[in-house]
């Protein structure tokens, strides 16, 4: 008996050792040069000029054409990209970036500090909805020190600064093409010029986007691949068949139906990973509109949270993918704290709280997110949960523009949504809870209308505290308050698995996965 236990434990240890060495062995393998990879992109991006458009599909393709100062590994540590090195002054207010030498744009012109200053100070300030608030409220000056050095001076310490240079958030734009032009009308928007490892060769609308290797890429020996074809296949089931018949090698996150993931992952020569989404860490929730009667009641919202079987949602609706969240910050990102009030599925307690809240049987309108069948099933499951707890629910269905409008204009009682965390609570989390972001016109603002001066104060502290430890302190407090007050009902830390042929190596090595992964990827 004892003997067999030891043997079993030994076997487990051996397996663990083997696992620990496996990645090293894979990395030690010399990347092979050449080859073509076919990747699914869904839906078709509207354009590939990443400074002007940051839709998911745009980022997947254009993140391999453009580059930013920094990239981030899977633990969200900043890594050199166009910036060779960087220094932060002791008072956390001056950031100095040293640029790589010998970088050229795809049209052959040199990339210099002038491009960086133009991009951050002029171009993105005018057009980028994520960089604009940072540069307008936090930044004192962006200056060129010499051709290869740029200095950013802040008005006050701003922790997320070092996380703000991901390629979709701050792609470098060529000054010689855009300066002095009407950015959004520049004909060059159709022929993106970046510094990245791949160049746009052809875009056959409705069929594919063809990228080819940048022969003059600044990083010697990279990229390994010769060509990437991004194929546009609008139907999810047809995408799965296209993978099975060998037409495509990579199914990017979210491109096949949830119930197909497990089946496809078991195919020969097929690998699956949920990594490569750490920067985004999509967080799904229901937003109660706290302006609408009973939804403004904390007890009622807590009752709803106890009424929802979140495990069922994950295991059945989402095929077991993802993790149950405990609060506003995803456990996959920084500053997460598990020291919060927790909610389990408890219909009896739900009924009690809902009754005590003074709920009188009003019908609650649940706005479904029109992003496919999985979301509709989820709405139905939650409707049933809530009705079991005695709450009357009516599901409202619409198309994407209809949803955008209703969510933006606060026209709902409960609204499904999922938001990216963008690597830092100050940029990706605070926006959903601070009262200064209660504004119509944007579905990703604080649309529920929750307002608490204490929360506003803590988020402000978290953003400007000079050290990570002090930031953590503020964020730990705010997570505790929010988990008690439930301005939104967190449902799932979502996983978007990437399914690919195992002979495509080093595909997902960063916190944004395939979005900038083709620099290092190679094909065996």
């Amino acid at each position: 008996m004892l003997n067999s236990q030891i043997r079993r434990r030994l076997a487990v240890t051996t397996a663990l050792v083997a696992l620990a060495f496996a990645p090293m062995a894979a990395q030690a393998q010399e990347p092979k040069k050449g080859g073509t990879v076919h990747v699914v992109v869904q839906p078709e991006p509207p354009m590939l000029m990443q400074g002007l458009n940051q839709n998911g599909p745009t980022n997947m393709v254009a993140g391999n054409i453009y580059e930013s100062l920094l990239r981030y590994d899977e633990k969200l540590n900043p890594q050199p990209s166009l910036a060779k090195s960087w220094e932060i002054s002791p008072d956390a207010k001056v950031y100095t970036f040293k640029l790589q030498e010998g970088v050229t744009w795809h049209d052959g012109k040199p990339f210099t500090a002038d491009d960086v200053v133009f991009t951050l100070d002029k171009f993105l300030r005018e057009v980028h909805p994520r960089w604009r608030p940072i540069v307008n409220t936090q930044v004192e000056a962006i200056e060129k020190v010499d051709d290869l050095t740029v200095r950013i001076t802040l008005k006050q310490p701003f922790g997320p600064m070092i996380m703000s240079q991901e390629v979709a958030s701050a792609p470098m734009i060529p000054k010689h093409i855009y300066d002095g032009t009407d950015y959004r009308a520049n004909p060059a928007n159709n022929t993106p010029i970046g510094t990245g490892p791949f160049k746009l060769k052809e875009w056959k609308k409705g069929s594919y986007i063809h990228l080819v290797k940048n022969e003059n890429y600044w990083m010697k020996g990279k990229p390994n691949l010769d060509e990437i074809y991004w194929q546009i296949i609008p139907d999810a089931a047809a995408r799965a068949v296209a993978y099975e018949t060998g037409k495509v090698d990579v199914l990017t996150g979210g491109s096949v139906d949830v119930y197909d993931v497990a089946r496809l992952s078991k195919l020969p020569n097929t690998c699956m990973t949920t990594k490569g989404w750490e920067m985004f860490a999509p967080h799904a929730w229901l937003t109660p509109n706290v302006r609408n009667g009973i939804l403004g009641n904390k007890q009622f919202r807590q009752g709803l949270m106890y009424a929802i079987d979140r495990e069922f949602g994950r295991d059945v609706v989402w095929g077991g993918l993802g993790k149950l969240p405990t609060g506003p910050i995803s456990s996959k990102t920084r500053f997460y704290s598990s020291d919060v009030p927790k909610y389990t599925y408890d219909p009896a307690k739900a009924k009690e709280l809902i009754k005590a809240s003074g709920y009188k049987g009003e019908t609650i309108k649940l706005l479904n997110l029109p992003y496919g069948e999985t979301w509709s099933r989820w709405s139905e499951a939650i409707k049933q949960n809530l009705e079991d707890a005695g709450v009357k629910v009516q599901i409202e269905n619409t198309d994407v523009p209809g949803w955008t409008q209703k969510a933006s204009n606060w026209d709902f009682d409960l609204n499904f949504n999922f938001l990216y965390q963008l690597g830092d609570p100050a940029t990706g989390v605070a926006r959903s809870y601070v009262s200064s972001n209660i504004a119509k016109g944007n579905p990703f603002a604080n649309v529920g209308g929750y307002s608490n001066p204490e929360v506003d104060k803590l988020f402000a502290e978290g953003a400007s505290a000079p050290t990570d430890a002090l930031r953590q302190e503020a964020y730990t407090k705010v997570q505790k308050i929010l988990a008690d007050e439930l301005p939104v009902l967190w449902l799932l830390e979502m996983d978007f698995p990437t399914i690919y042929r195992c002979n495509v190596k080093n595909l997902v090595t960063t916190g944004i996965g395939v979005d900038d992964g083709f620099r290092d990827a190679w094909k065996e």
Partner: protein, 325 residues
């Protein structure tokens, strides 16, 4: 009324109809919730008031509605279908870029279904009541009743995945860089599944229509007379029955031809065929007004055009129509 008078009358009416359609489309589209700026900003997962304002200005949505209407109508009067800010291209380019693929698909489906349907229907009528008739009628009923997307997916799984006979999606082999005959063959190979899938429904419709129409005409007096003259059944069937039975089929063919441009949304989506239908569907969910209006306009022009053509074919098939009008 001579042919010229007939044609010019129909053309004037056609232009008026197109104008009314264009006007209606403009207001219908704006009645739908959301607008292209909001959709574009929404997809990016981040937006602020300034971005929405910038985008609305780009789409021309900052102008008063009547000004927008005026710009739209003025453009169409000079055959300028406008510009899609979302796609950064003139609408006409976008449409013309997609037109060949759609015409190839719907054209192939049209020919296959018309040819196959008429022959099947005629055969079934001649053998009415026998097993071959039952077979054809049953098959038509099945194709007529089965949803297109289901056939599309099942045919992909059977013919592409299980049997490996044909590619399941796309217009050609991406990355193969074929030219000339090799490319034509490759496109043909890709065309097989979508065109047959799209054609099945109309094949069934034509076959049923042809069979019913033939049986009806077969009982007419002039057919009895022809038989009494001693003509062979084959000649009676071909010269007397089929020719008279074809009119309803022509009507139906006119309808199908009108859908050559806009009628293949589902097929194009499931088979990733880069045609107009998908352009239209994408534009719809993106509220890309200018593209949507452009595709609507071209499709309605096609319908009007084919209606005129159908009337002309009537006059050829049955000279009595000309005499009566």
């Amino acid at each position: 009324m001579n042919l010229l008078q007939f044609l010019s009358g129909r053309l004037v009416k056609g232009v008026l109809v197109l104008f009314a359609i264009a006007l209606l489309n403009f207001f219908l589209i704006r009645a739908a919730p959301g607008d292209p700026a909001q959709v574009l900003a929404g997809e990016a997962g981040a937006a602020d008031a300034q971005l929405l304002e910038q985008l609305r200005a780009r789409f021309g949505l900052d102008q008063p509605l009547l000004t927008q209407l005026w710009i739209y109508l003025k453009g169409y009067a000079t055959l300028d279908l406008g510009f899609s800010y979302r796609q950064q291209r003139p609408v006409l380019d976008l449409v013309l870029d997609r037109l060949p693929a759609t015409l190839l698909l719907t054209g192939a489906a049209f020919i296959v279904s018309l040819g196959l349907g008429v022959v099947m229907g005629a055969l079934a009528a001649r053998r009415a009541g026998r097993w071959s008739d039952s077979l054809i009628t049953t098959l038509s009923l099945v194709f007529y009743a089965t949803p297109l997307f289901w056939i599309a997916l099942m045919s992909q799984i059977l013919f592409s995945l299980k049997l490996g006979l044909v590619p399941n999606v796309g217009f050609e082999t991406i990355g193969a860089n074929y030219t000339g005959l090799a490319r034509a063959l490759d496109i043909g190979h890709h065309l097989i599944l979508p065109s047959i899938t799209l054609g099945l429904f109309f094949t069934a419709l034509y076959a049923r229509m042809m069979r019913a129409s033939m049986l009806e005409v077969a009982g007419a007096d002039f057919v009895k007379t022809a038989r009494a003259k001693g003509l062979s059944p084959a000649i009676v069937s071909r010269r007397h029955v089929a020719r008279n039975a074809i009119l309803p089929v022509v009507t139906l063919a006119g309808l199908q031809a009108g859908q050559l441009v806009g009628g293949a949304v589902l097929t194009e989506t499931v088979f990733a065929w880069p045609g107009i239908g998908r352009l239209m569907f994408d534009a719809l969910v993106q509220r890309d007004y200018s593209v949507l209006l452009g595709v609507f306009f071209i499709s309605s022009a096609m319908v009007v055009g084919f209606n005129i053509l159908t009337d002309l074919v009537y006059r050829l098939a049955d000279p009595r129509i000309e005499a009566a009008s």
